[in-house]
């Protein structure tokens, strides 16, 4: 999992941000942007595992958790895709190259990419949920021979809101991958699937008994995707979801991200579905 780069130990104090400089900004969609970051002080970058997140700190404004969406084999580029929805992220959207921000992390549990070698892997994502899954997909691509079928299913609101569009086009050219995209509705020249992403699960070919599902997106999408996979015969213990809550300390001290008996920052964000599925049906949790 780790690159040949030497793993850099986290700062002794996990509450202490390290300075990172924005190397590149990419506008993905209206209100959604991607930062490529590198350590500002010449340090080696922190290695990470797919599914982990960083706390991104902007002096004088605040700090938010953001999933890492880059390639774990290439940690010198720390990649974060962010949607501008609040005061902090709207400010972040205005930042250009060379701006320095603080990063704490990486934190949290990863997608179990090593434990599932030899299996069929169905990655189900929706909206911005492709960002936390992308590192796992990169890993599967690099270790392609270690897995059986690899299927990526992605849902977006409409064709103009497809995240990483150019990259998805490239992935679809691979003959040893199944990459399917659906949209909730479409105008114009769209010729692909129309419908919600759980419907795609019925349409793709995999062996349920040797399949692991990795699911990331809005909770309602994850819930119905998990149900669709289970209806196809995939065991609940072979499904993993990435939960999102209001992480603050990121090390399990503060309790802001508590979800039932779990701290999402420390016990998650990636959970085995059967360990967390009761939370999907508890209102206001």
């Amino acid at each position: 999992m780790l690159s040949e780069l030497q793993r850099t130990e986290l700062p002794a104090d996990p509450m202490l941000p390290r300075p990172y400089r924005i190397q590149r900004v990419r506008r993905e969609l209206p209100g959604t942007f991607t930062w490529e970051l590198a350590p500002a002080n010449g340090d080696l970058p922190s290695s990470f595992e797919p599914g982990q997140f960083n706390m991104v700190y902007v002096g004088g404004i605040g700090e938010i958790p953001v999933s890492i969406s880059g390639d774990p084999a290439n940690p010198e580029k720390m990649i974060h895709t962010i949607r501008a929805v609040g005061q902090l992220t709207r400010a972040m959207e205005t930042f250009g190259r060379h701006t320095v921000v603080g990063l704490r992390g990486p934190f949290g549990t990863p997608w179990p990419v090593d434990e599932i070698r030899g299996r069929d892997v169905v990655l189900v994502s929706g909206g911005l949920g492709l960002a936390p899954l992308r590192p796992a997909f990169y890993h599967l691509l690099q270790e392609r021979e270690a897995y059986n079928r690899i299927i990526l299913l992605y849902g977006a609101r409409d064709p103009d809101e497809i995240l990483y569009r150019d990259e998805i086009k490239q992935w679809r050219r691979h003959l040893d991958l199944d990459v399917e995209v659906t949209v909730d509705s479409a105008l114009g020249r769209w010729r692909g699937h129309v419908g919600v992403v759980p419907e795609l699960i019925k349409r793709v070919d995999f062996d349920p008994e040797r399949t692991t599902g990795l699911i990331c997106g809005p909770e309602v999408m994850m819930k119905y995707s998990a149900i669709a996979l289970i209806n196809r015969g995939v065991a609940a213990e072979n499904l993993y979801v990435s939960m999102e809550r209001n992480m603050k300390c990121a090390v399990g001290f503060c309790g802001h991200c508590q979800l039932g008996p779990h701290f999402v920052c420390k016990d998650g964000p990636v959970f085995r579905y059967d360990h967390i599925k009761s939370a999907f049906s508890v209102r206001e949790l």
């Binding site: 609101r157 479409a186 010729r191 692909g192 919600v196």
Partner: protein, 156 residues
């Protein structure tokens, strides 16, 4: 992002819609089935027209469209291999509720709706068995519509 054109020809008698029918009921239905083909972009049915057929899609993709201003033609669903197109023939006034056309080249089995309905009325066991196959299809489409009502990818 054009879709890869994969043609997978299926034995329609093994498809989910009909696979649980008894051999006798399947034979009744088979007598009313016609293999059919639509070129890409070919219209299959139009909103408001009499729903005289329903289709089991063997290969390809059918797009369902609604038309209304100010949006114009909006694609609302796709029907694909192994899935059924059409239940308007079951319910008065038996008119299509949307336009449907082949997005990719389509191989399908077409059923004569009036004759199937007559069989269902004559043979209540067959009628109930076929309805049991159609209700899950209707439920799936309703659930898909409900999920889209949530507009789950929209963040304010």
């Amino acid at each position: 992002m054009p879709e890869r054109e994969e043609q997978q020809h299926l034995n329609w008698k093994e498809q989910p819609l009909v696979k649980d029918l008894s051999p006798e009921h399947l034979e009744l239905l088979a007598n009313l089935a016609t293999e059919t083909h639509f070129e890409a972009r070919e219209m299959i049915c139009k909103e408001g027209e009499s729903a005289e057929h329903f289709f089991l899609i063997k290969a390809g993709r059918v797009v369902l469209e609604l038309y209304g201003q100010p949006k114009g033609h909006m694609k609302i669903d796709t029907i694909e291999s192994g899935e059924v197109l059409g239940w308007s023939w079951l319910v008065e006034p038996r008119k299509w509720h949307f336009d449907a056309y082949a997005s990719l080249e389509v191989e399908a089995v077409r059923f004569d709706a009036a004759k199937v309905r007559a069989l269902m009325e004559d043979d209540a066991v067959f009628g109930f068995a076929l309805m049991q196959q159609f209700v899950p299809v209707i439920m799936d489409r309703l659930q898909s519509t409900r999920l889209r009502l949530l507009d789950m990818y929209h963040v304010k």
